[in-house]
Symmetry: C2
Subunit: 352 residues, 2 copies
């Protein structure tokens, strides 16, 4: 494997000095890019795109051809794991992901198993292929959904605003939910370790729905299972550190607890002032975030001011990876991403 | 007007001693009650029910006939104001509220006006009728949506998960959004003052969507306009204090700022530990909340444990109004509300 030419992202995750603040964007390969839509159309469907290592590699690299991003993230979806568990994933236009067989019955829950790694081979193949294609230009991020976030989709059967089914299970049959979460945690651990083995140089856990839980339930039903994943995660590969990032959207109230998990970095959404997040987390972890994604729909000067504001809130020194507080909106004009990336690189130098 | 027989709710809002912790529940009159569904069917539609003071009074009183609640809240909807502004409100089954004429065009926004109070007469008539019917048993709460939350529905045209249109306006044309928010703030102020004049003994502002904003944008585009409402609000009626409550769902990171608005009480959702909320807010305001609504779908012992936990987190002394962190779920078995209300009354006595 070639040595990294640009290692600012990895260094920032490990809170080592960098000449500027590295930047990448959640969902940086996606529908806002016309070339993505072309490849997506060629694939036929979203999951066909995920399952085709050639095409998934192509879309992974598309934003890097346009912008001076400091990391690539493998193109995939957090629902590959429950799909491989046999729940019958489908993406219905305008409705988001749905599962044909949501997990509600005790018998089905006890029958749930960590999927066969062969079922997810296409993801590891994509990771290996992207890693080769990158040729050490920037590091490659692997990722997975958190055990709780996966369980939300698996139990609800699709997107939800009130999480009625999974929360009812949490309060009425916590034993069943714990069983699902334990299987998910073991599946996520194996999945991330296989991505690391295939070439992922950092990994991120997306806890999209943990923020819907109560403060005590978050610790018990989401954070504890991310902790289980972290405890089983390879921390290096061929003697090189593979840092990890935990991101709970809506988890701003719990940053101290998240950082105490021993993760290398904490993802921060836009509801939290990055300076106060830094104060609360201290030396325990790096921080990744946290521009409101809709700022990318504004005029150039608003985008630059947004970048400047996030950088100034974090302040001097290393340990900050610039990102949005959530994925890039599909309504983002592609030229605005260039404005943001340039602004972060230029405006962050005085802080280093 | 008759003197209040049970004034624990008002006293707790003013942080005065009470023998136990008062309790009421957001959406305590609603679809989980079979008698509500009967009245709702008689009315024909949700808005017909809101617009009929006799029927709205009937459903307001229904939960009080079943449970020893310490307050009534007038049955109405936060969207009565934009409806009275002429935006064409409709409730589509399974889709939630929609507006036929969402506010997007500059010309329409400049044409927006505070609605004629006559258009909202039915709400004030309901307030007066409920107040008479209560005969001083418990106090009556009036309410309104926050200027920002109303604007979300007005600009999006219905429920949204990403608030694309209003946030794009915020970052591209903040002048237009400020214009809408100023009209809304003046409308909400007049609306709440008219409810107070009609007999509301406390008022609550529901900021359902303020939590979707960034930390700086929340202050500028939601809290500032709730502050404008508070500044224009009648603080007493016939020499009696009329306390107010501000509730921003998802606003747990900003409690200090919310309390600094000078409100009497701050609503707290279930993501925040009530003890830490009390520490942060201090003597500036009372706190209302914060049981996760789904706990009401669990077994009796889980409900009692949930009540005990919230009470113990708040701790000793006055200034706490027990509530859920959001509205009662329509899947709640009615008998579980009785279990909760009894548990709060019984288990809170040692703290007073």
């Amino acid at each position: 494997m070639s040595k990294l030419k640009n290692d600012t992202f990895i260094r920032a995750l490990l809170r080592q000095p960098t000449p500027y603040t590295p930047v990448w964007l959640m969902r940086q390969a996606g529908r806002y890019l016309p070339e993505y839509n072309t490849t997506r159309a060629r694939a036929g469907s979203f999951m066909a795109l995920c399952r085709n290592p050639d095409l998934a590699t192509e879309v992974t690299l598309q934003p890097l051809a346009r912008y001076a991003l400091d990391a690539a993230i493998v193109f995939s979806d957090i629902l590959t794991i429950p799909d491989a568990m046999g729940l019958g994933l489908a993406f219905v236009e305008g409705e988001g992901p749905t599962f044909a067989r949501p997990l509600r019955e005790e018998r089905e829950i006890h029958g749930l198993n960590v999927p066969d790694p062969g079922e997810l081979r296409y993801v590891f193949d994509t990771v290996a292929q992207v890693r080769r294609a990158l040729a050490g230009e920037v590091p490659l991020i692997g990722f997975a959904g958190s055990p709780f976030t996966l369980a939300c989709y698996m139990v609800e059967g699709g997107p939800s605003t009130d999480f009625h089914h999974i929360k009812t299970m949490l309060y009425r049959r916590p034993d069943l939910l714990r069983r699902i979460l334990d299987v998910n945690a073991r599946a996520v651990t194996a999945y991330l370790n296989a991505q690391i083995e295939a070439g992922a140089q950092a990994v991120m856990i997306f806890d999209t729905w943990g923020g819907a839980l109560g403060h005590a339930e978050y610790r018990e039903f989401s954070l504890a299972y991310m902790q289980q994943v972290l405890d089983g995660l390879a921390r290096e590969c061929d003697g090189v550190r593979v840092p990890n990032i935990l991101f709970t959207k809506g988890g701003g109230a719990w940053l101290e607890a998240i950082a105490a998990s021993g993760c290398d970095a904490v993802g921060i959404d836009w509801t939290v002032h990055l300076g106060s997040a830094r104060e609360r987390v201290g030396a325990r972890a790096a921080l990744q975030g946290n521009l409101e994604p809709v700022v990318l729909l504004a005029e150039a000067e608003t985008i630059r001011a947004g970048a400047a504001s996030v950088l100034s809130h974090y302040g001097r020194g290393s340990g900050h990876i610039f990102n949005l507080g959530h994925g890039v909106s599909r309504f983002t004009p592609p030229e605005n991403v260039a404005i943001l990336v340039e602004a972060v690189h230029e405006l962050s130098r005085p802080y280093h």
